[in-house]
């Protein structure tokens, strides 16, 4: 399965060049999820945030994270990150004992070196060089891609708790995982919805970026990518390359109507050579 996904260049996208060939389906699924969120998940999470005291919410987060230790250690090892595996194991032993069954993150408290780091098989595949494949919005689970969806399946299969927890405990864990995650996203997602024009596109971009961030943080980064912010006034340096003004241009453009613009160079067509820079994927890692 992994090999099939490996085809094509590693599409770690930092720009809008997210590969989304089934966008109409994804948009529909996104709306269904959004409706379910509005009706159920969000109200439950809001109530949870209001009713449950903060320290208790934190304990829930800590326990859930502690329970993920086997999957995290496994994937750190698969990624060849011995140090990361050691951190996860140390956290587990400290937090399960001194931290009272994982309720308190005593290991990570004020100690960035033992801070929690999430790992999963999707990240492992990425470290192995598997591209993310088409973007996917999963029913109820939300934003993903083909690689991370495959990763999820492996994570469930490789988690010892899948086989040891009884049905009730497993259900409780799943519900708490969703509520815990959604609660932490209440404010950020509200902000995104308010400040974006196309909520779907904004969330897609957020998913891809934060996923890339996680992958780079975990792996001994092969070099971070930063989008190229082509300098606005660079155009002045390339006067010779300027395209003729488009027909819609009202001559040499009337006086700018704003103090800010009046200090800027006249707006004109950027030269072709710079166009290449607009795609962040082409950015060389440092």
């Amino acid at each position: 399965m992994g090999l099939a996904l490996a085809g094509g260049a590693c599409a770690s996208s930092t720009g809008n060049g997210v590969y989304d060939p089934i966008e109409p389906f994804n948009r529909a699924m996104f709306q269904v999820n959004d409706a379910a969120d509005f009706l159920v998940v969000r109200p439950v999470s809001e109530t949870y945030r209001q009713v449950v005291p903060d320290p208790l919410q934190e304990m829930v987060t800590n326990v859930l994270r502690n329970l993920r230790t086997p999957v995290i250690v496994l994937n750190q090892l698969l990624q060849g990150d011995w140090e990361g595996a050691e951190v996860a194991a140390t956290r587990f032993f400290l937090n399960s004992t001194v931290g009272v069954l994982g309720l308190v993150d005593i290991a990570g408290y004020g100690n960035p070196e033992l801070a929690y780091e999430s790992e999963d098989f999707g990240q492992t595949l990425a470290v192995w060089g598997v591209g993310d494949g088409p973007y996917l919005v999963l029913p109820l689970l939300g934003p993903s891609n083909v690689r991370d969806t495959a990763g999820r399946v492996v994570d469930i299969g490789s988690d010892p708790l899948t086989y040891t927890l009884n049905d009730d405990a497993a259900l409780a864990r799943n519900i708490l995982t969703v509520v815990d995650a959604r609660t932490q996203l209440l404010d950020p997602l509200d902000e995104v919805r308010r400040s974006s024009l196309d909520y779907y596109a904004a969330v897609r971009s957020l998913y891809v970026q934060s996923r890339d961030g996680e992958i780079q943080e975990g792996a001994a980064a092969e070099g971070e990518e930063f989008p190229d912010f082509e300098d606005f006034d660079d155009f002045e340096d390339f006067e010779g390359f300027d395209d003729p003004p488009p027909p819609t241009d009202s001559g040499e453009a009337g006086p700018p109507s704003n103090a800010l613009l009046s200090e800027s160079p006249p707006l004109r067509e950027p030269p072709p050579p710079l166009v290449l820079d607009l795609d962040p994927r082409r950015n060389q890692p440092r």
């Binding site: 024009l197 196309d198 971009s205 970026q209 340096d237 819609t248 613009l261």
Partner: protein
């Protein structure tokens, strides 16, 4: 935002090409850190006024935004490949609406201030002229709220912010994704985005 005369800029650029050691002169990370620290102090001291109204907050924010953010560069980036397609009038209106949208969206935050402080935690050069300055926003009770990285560009005229990265998510990249989706779904017309921005700005103003 004072710009060099075009001739001087071109001359500098040519000199840079000719003398590669000069061209690869590293961005000044310490200077960028000082720039962000000073800017943060300035903003926090404004916010500590308890009687700050939304109107005042907007004025303050607009001032800070215009002086310290390179709006044309950010706007051009977030329009992506459609910048080339846009007519000069469309570009001009886009930059105005873009500024307006940011001010309307974020000025409100200024009134929600509740004792957060911020600390510069480090910086690194990410290109020859850009430095990423990392900061931690800290609660009144000393807890880390969020990590924000500021991408600062160094020019002869000083420093300006060209991107804000919140927990690994770049505002510029997100906005570009957002804007491009609107244009694509509008049949590739920049005017569709302008219309959406006009509405967004209007709604935000009414809410305020």
């Amino acid at each position: 935002m004072k710009l060099l005369p075009p001739g001087a800029a071109a001359a500098l650029f040519a000199a840079g090409l000719a003398l590669s050691p000069f061209a690869s002169r590293a961005a000044d990370a310490a200077g960028a850190e000082r720039f962000i620290a000073a800017l943060g102090d300035e903003v926090v001291s404004t916010l500590q006024r308890p009687d700050l109204t939304l109107e005042e907050a907007e004025t303050q924010f607009r001032g800070v935004f215009r002086t310290n953010f390179d709006i044309p560069t950010i706007g051009q980036f977030s329009l992506g490949r459609y910048w080339r397609v846009a007519s000069p009038t469309e570009r001009e209106e886009f930059l105005l609406l873009f500024e307006e949208m940011i001010v309307e969206t974020y000025a409100r935050r200024f009134t929600e201030y509740s004792g957060q402080s911020f600390r510069v935690t480090g910086s690194r050069e990410i290109s020859e002229r850009d430095v990423l300055v990392s900061t931690s926003i800290i609660n009144a009770d000393g807890q880390l709220v969020v990590v924000i990285d500021w991408r600062v560009r160094q020019r002869e005229t000083g420093y300006q912010i060209i991107d804000v990265v919140v927990e690994q998510v770049s505002m510029g990249v997100t906005q570009r994704s957002d804007f491009n989706a609107v244009i694509q779904r509008g049949g590739g017309k920049v005017e569709v985005l302008l219309q959406a921005l006009r509405e967004q700005v209007q709604t935000a103003q009414q809410d305020g």
